[in-house]
Symmetry: C2
Subunit: 336 residues, 2 copies
């Protein structure tokens, strides 16, 4: 029934209202009552009446604790990260903590900027999904709070990481296509340069290994580099591929979203999936069950990844621990 406070209510206000010291109030409100039950009740009542909420900034400055974990991702609208974030948030919530998400932008410079961004120190721990940043970059920053790297990219260094098994996942996907009769498999969003060590490169490596392992000739022109990881890139590249008259009977897309672009391009060209062209994506996002046809995809087990990340955060001082979460293939209608 009290009107909302015009100005912020501080601990001192509550203490004054209850006729006790700030220490008493702080103790009671944090569940460590060093006072009598009646006094505790009086304090609680006063706090409620005044509409008191502890200032989290002051609390953190003194005690060091936030109940927030930061999650830095390249882009806010990529379904993979949205789904992963949901798992992280779910699990954190069970611990009474909160997930807070920020965008880096995805380029090396932007990731560095994000990492330097002092705001990150406001979290108990930070999970960073890095694409372009390199180990020396990060180490020079001297992070003082727990930092877990979420990789699609192996980065030996001073920070623990969780990786998905990009190479094996890609291997299994391409192997699946090859055993289903595909002979000319496009790697949509692959990488030709062997020196880089990012997600794109790892998945391309799986693509190569599958070919050599199964004794299938590898056609270098079918490895298509893309400008981005959006559906648009997949659509444009596939359309171009068809226009150029390339022969292919399967597409392994670096990402489900890219695969969706490819599916759309194939439909426009009147090619039937999987009859004329088989398609596999990567990430196993929710949309895979609703595309026409439903999209076969490599499942990175986001929930496992989330669990692994939180485990690494929970245990202090486990630098350079690397957990690799295995993938499985989720076969749907877009492959035979």
């Amino acid at each position: 029934m009290k009107p909302p406070p015009r100005t912020t209510v501080t601990l001192a206000d509550v203490a004054a209202a209850a006729g006790v010291s700030k220490a008493a109030v702080s103790g009671v409100l944090n569940g460590k009552p060093r006072v009598s039950a009646t006094t505790a009740q009086r304090i609680k009542d006063a706090a409620k009446n005044l509409g008191y909420h502890a200032n989290p900034t002051a609390r953190q400055l003194r005690s060091g604790r936030t109940d927030a974990v930061g999650f830095v991702i390249p882009e806010l609208h990529r379904p993979y990260f949205g789904e992963l974030a949901t798992h992280l948030a779910n699990q954190l919530e069970q611990q009474g903590r909160h997930l807070v998400i920020q965008r880096s932008g995805g380029s090396r410079e932007q990731e560095l900027a994000a990492a330097q961004f002092a705001q990150l120190r406001r979290y108990d721990a930070v999970i960073m999904s890095v694409l372009g940043v390199d180990p020396p970059d990060l180490e020079s920053l001297g992070f003082t709070i727990p930092l877990v790297l979420l990789g699609e990219k192996s980065m030996p260094g001073a920070h623990p990481q969780v990786l998905m098994d990009n190479e094996t996942g890609a291997f299994e996907a391409v192997k699946h296509l090859l055993t289903r009769g595909a002979q000319h498999i496009v790697m949509l969003g692959g990488s030709h340069s062997p020196d880089r060590n990012d997600m794109t490169r790892r998945r391309t490596q799986g693509y190569r290994t599958a070919h050599t392992t199964l004794g299938q000739p590898l056609i270098e022109e079918l490895i298509i580099e893309l400008g981005g990881v959006g559906a648009e890139s997949g659509y444009t590249a596939t359309t171009q591929l068809i226009a150029d008259g390339h022969t292919f009977d399967a597409i392994f897309a670096v990402t489900d979203v890219v695969a969706m672009g490819a599916l759309r391009a194939l439909a426009d060209a009147g090619l039937r999936v999987p009859h004329d062209v088989q398609v596999i994506g990567f990430d196993d996002i929710a949309d895979c069950n609703y595309t026409v046809p439903r999209l076969t995809s490599v499942n990175p087990h986001k929930e496992h990844i989330a669990t692994a990340v939180l485990d690494l955060i929970a245990v202090p001082n486990n630098d350079n621990r690397v957990i690799t979460v295995p993938t499985t293939l989720n076969v749907r209608e877009s492959t035979l």
Copy 2:
């Protein structure tokens, strides 16, 4: 060349290293040098050598400023929010500020919890996308920082809001279907109860108005309430609708994601879109261009919404201002 600091470097450390007072260091590092150029340089060098970064928590406690704006959304994996967040982040970045995202959960209780969650006070301003919370709920919290409500729901109250024009958007969509010959339009994810005032209800209202305005009989059984706003809900409901032998020649889905579920169900049933059944979604997410067939959708102009929100934040004390952003219909292949 210096090794990263083992422990946190404070302002006092820099001051000691440079042989000056903390005030001098603070001044120089914040661009308000009250010292000579040579001293300033000495301070900057010391800061760089020690790897000093200001503690944002302490800074905020004293100065009140963060450079972060909070954005509270119901779910982290909904494309609409991901895209809107991207626009907000882009625009904020141009102002040198950052967007920070948190999840509420979507229910009234969870939204209240999120709003009470003291962490929100760590931002300069908060943008909240509310679904279930009511005005009295929020006012009782006595927010002390700028709060903009992002609505799909009109909530007259003490806080400024940005709404999309749900009713007109739905009206135009249904009108479009009716003028293209549809006679039995399913409202997928509608609401029967007229008392609630949420997004679902507003869009259903547009559906009704379109029918009466165009003199088309409205079939109450075609308004289908859904348990959720995911693709699964749309899929299940549409499948059920077909199994039950209902006649319909169009679907207006409350959300693009729901529409995608419907598209999938129609494909499973062997119904052709738009020939047998026309489909329209709402939100105009990026996926609309890549579904088969491409999905006609109501475009809420997320970029405009973002601009409006940031305008409201920029101007202090504009309580109870309400900006309604108009929608347009984006016609694609799923309608005739």
